[in-house]
Symmetry: C2
Subunit: 237 residues, 2 copies
């Protein structure tokens, strides 16, 4: 296979990569570490999808013996959890906001959340494994802060946070799964057309073809924010 083999951390080392096919270069690989394992797992997942991540393959990429991973990791599940959390890291935004900027901030956080996951489409399908890694918690904390500052009462905070989380996760999963296959989508829409007596409405609306995912995401998000946060720009219509 030997797919990307991208070099993990900048550098793009000039040295070596003389095509010595025979054995692995005996000195090259840095020592195994949790960080290297997770980074490489993300690469492998990006390249081959959820089903492509196998412990042996991962070890191969790391230039390590097949079973070496288990000293660092415990189980494959754990690799999944760590990879998911890694992908969700958030650097925040430059902290130059006025108090009324809360809405922009919220939108930015949530759009970035979705975008980060869409860059790694496998991440959406791992969500159901509930794993609250530090990066996910960090995003939730930030979201809570923003909403709180926006005037959402403590009693309403959980509802607001979960509503937004739910919406973002749903949008991400849907987008990730329906976008994998342009062809499949066309095929599905054709199937619907063939059965248009049963599904006249979604046939007419070309539901599977004419979906502006990003636009739809943004619009629904605005409606939620209108409802969840008091005053300001509510009832925009």
């Amino acid at each position: 296979m030997a797919a990307k083999h991208s070099d993990t951390r900048g550098k793009r080392s000039q040295r070596q990569y003389v095509p010595v096919q025979s054995a692995q270069p005996p000195h090259a690989d840095p020592p195994l570490s949790l960080e290297r394992i997770v980074t490489t797992a993300v690469e492998l997942l990006d390249a081959e999808g959820v089903d492509g991540l196998k412990m042996r393959r991962l070890a191969d990429r790391l230039g390590a013996g097949a079973m070496s991973l288990y000293w660092h990791v415990g189980s494959k599940e754990e690799v999944f959890d760590l990879a998911l959390d890694l992908v969700i890291e958030y650097s925040g935004r430059p902290q130059v906001f006025e108090p009324e900027d809360w809405r922009d901030e919220a939108v930015h956080l949530l759009q970035d959340w979705r975008a980060s996951m869409l860059r790694h489409p496998w991440s959406a399908s791992l969500l159901s494994r509930r794993a609250l890694g530090p990066n996910i918690l960090n995003r939730l904390e930030l979201l809570g802060k923003i909403l709180s500052r926006a005037g959402v009462a403590d009693a309403d905070l959980n509802v607001a946070i979960w509503s937004l989380w739910n919406y973002v996760m749903g949008a991400t999963i849907t987008r990730a799964s329906f976008d994998l296959s342009e062809d499949d989508r066309t095929a599905a829409q054709q199937r619907i057309t063939r059965l248009s007596e049963h599904y006249p409405t979604i046939e007419r609306s070309r539901l599977l073809l004419d979906s502006d995912w990003d636009g739809a995401f943004r619009k629904g998000l605005d409606f939620l924010l209108d409802g969840l946060a008091p005053g300001q720009k509510s009832c925009s219509r």
Copy 2:
């Protein structure tokens, strides 16, 4: 293992079940059929979760040889797809609505959608396999009809349908994954408390403990509907 072995279809047959351990009762099981396979798959999934569905086990439950399934089914993936669609079947509601009932109808359809999936928690984690079975399409069609009747312009229909779908799916997945484990939730919240300097907001709001999932779902749904559909009850605040 021999877990439940519930008897598939009502009846709870009085006859037989003399403990003949030796061989399978030679006459008992009805012939294999796609319907029986899928129904039994759902039972097995309910009992053992996604990872519990193995082809051999499924065949066992059906009193069939391990490989007999493959004449009817093609692959395990297909079993998943069919099981997911089965669970989403919708009988609609008694058709006694006035034109202005659209909102109740929409809420009912969507709440029932979520409830149906929560009755089979594994279904949420299968969603990312994009499979538009007839029952899912049927729900989408109905939703489209309701919204259309409510006055949503054709041009806005896809946005409305997808926003609602996204929200419902996200809520379902979240609920399904976070509800599996009361204990885990408490443990997670404790972990957060331990790190309360990092996560003061979600610690204060007891995000993982005090979530009224059903209430939050309903509230967010209302906000979306307020925004998506013109007039009527908009700006309820």
